[in-house]
Symmetry: C2
């Protein structure tokens, strides 16, 4: 298990369930979070892209995070996403996470305005850190240009580490571009870098990476964890091939609806398949086809809760 404030291993961006009223369902959310930790996750990142975080309101995020802490999830294992477009609201969510004792916060760059440069992004993170004004704050930068469009350059990471070495401690690299992850690992030894997919888990570990923060951790943490634990063993490459194949099959369909369909199916709980607009559930036939493929090709099933 990770030391306090020092994330390593397999971290799942927790799926966010919704009730039939369309509001987030804290009961299912807590149960899933606890199961993920039991299934092999070494930490949790509520409110990542996979968690439909950007479809959740400010108060909804704070309520859900409090439900995890109140429900007995160790907050030092939590790295919630707290990055919004607006500096002031990012400050609010980040303070809230720090005050709850969260081990870290995963923070997107402000992603609405596209014509911004590294100086502007540096000023944003610097203002954020000054306004939160709390030594307990540990920031994991969230680089996901395929979705956020606005990214965090290798150079900007270096400037932030230099200015705030005790606060800017890590990064999740969801660029899908191994050369970017490798450049970060090479440039900043000691900085905690998580590839955003288990496809790069082994290559990452061999180059000083910290593990992975991955959507499919919601359904396949145990297998991914076994590679994390045994990455120096003889079976590492074949394990990597296996988890890569499984991931590739899952992401052949829209990732978030597919993951929710898997949970709904194996938990026998159709409510889990709900998404909040602009996302819509997979149609039933498509969901079944995906679940059947995983079972037939890999013997995949979701382990008992």
């Amino acid at each position: 298990m990770p030391a306090k404030n020092d994330f390593h291993g397999v971290i799942a961006p927790v799926l966010t369930p919704f009730g039939d009223d369309g509001n987030p369902d804290a009961v299912r959310f807590l149960a899933h979070a606890k199961w993920l930790l039991a299934d092999g996750c070494t930490g949790l990142a509520p409110f990542g892209t996979t968690g439909e975080a950007n479809s959740l309101g400010l108060q909804e995020r704070m309520d859900l995070l409090e439900a995890l802490a109140a429900g007995g999830v160790d907050p030092t294992l939590l790295m919630p996403g707290t990055g919004l477009c607006a500096l002031s609201d990012t400050v609010k969510l980040t303070k809230h996470a720090v005050d709850l004792g969260c081990g870290g916060a995963m923070i997107l760059p402000p992603f609405y305005y596209k014509a911004v440069d590294d100086d502007g992004l540096f000023a944003y993170y610097a203002d954020l850190i000054e306004r939160v004004g709390d030594d307990r704050l540990k920031i994991y930068l969230y680089h996901i240009p395929p979705v956020a469009v606005v990214g965090i350059s290798v150079e900007l990471v270096g400037r932030l580490i230099e200015a705030y070495p005790d606060t800017v401690v890590g990064l999740k690299d969801s660029s899908g571009d191994w050369s970017n992850t490798k450049a970060l690992l090479d440039a900043y030894p000691g900085f905690t870098v998580f590839p955003g997919s288990e496809i790069f888990l082994l290559e990452g570990l061999r180059n000083g990476g910290a593990g992975c923060i991955t959507a499919t951790g919601n359904v396949n943490a145990r297998m991914i964890r076994s590679l994390y634990d045994d990455w120096q063993s003889d079976r590492a490459d074949s394990l990597q091939e296996e988890i890569t194949n499984l991931r590739t099959t899952i992401q052949a369909r829209p990732m978030i609806p597919m993951l929710k369909a898997i949970v709904a199916h194996y938990r026998n709980d159709s409510g889990w398949a709900r998404l909040r607009p602009p996302f819509l559930p997979l149609d039933a036939g498509e969901a079944k086809a995906g679940i059947d493929e995983l079972a037939e090709q890999y013997g995949f099933e979701l382990k008992a809760a």
Copy 2:
């Protein structure tokens, strides 16, 4: 002036000033809004892209909007931007605007997730309308793909008009693509379409457009309004050329910092030049060069407040 709940003419997306503490400055904001209406604006769109809306927090937007209403700005002339990524918070801001008596709300599509289709966006707007649940709600869709990336297709507009004819009443087209504006005007007569730039004002009016909602309305509303008022006169084409040239010169530099530099200069109020990260002010030399160019080439100056 526009009839109640029926926007036409020249609408400025009001610049948002910040105090030296980095927080929005409601006093300067109100003064600027009143001056814009005196300078020729027929309506105001607080919290557009130009207003750094996506850098403002939920509570900050509500406080600023209340400051306008409390300060004597007729709320029926206001079309605030209320669209965020998260449905629940968009509902909150939109309800707040309706309850204040705003004539409309300008609503972005949810812009974080990129892999969404028209069905998902339709579900988002439909859920929003049902959750606000108020006949007074008048939505102006906000199509700005160069920034939001997620856009609103001509077909989606048609589906929304058909489903909610009394609620989805207009659109701001900031695509910068006249063929898209023309397609909307041709497809949906009676639907209120505003080009997002005065460059398309005359062409828009000749094709049934409603006027324009334009960033440069913050500094040049009087001249743009004169074209709106005289678009059927002999001088319309030369007026269009003049305002197009002025706009082109302003947007040769980063638009929002340049507009704030102009206001700061002519109001002799350096505080107006502040922006919130990720935006930064123009450096002083660049700002002066832009202001000088406008004065020398067009005799431009900001009219007295």
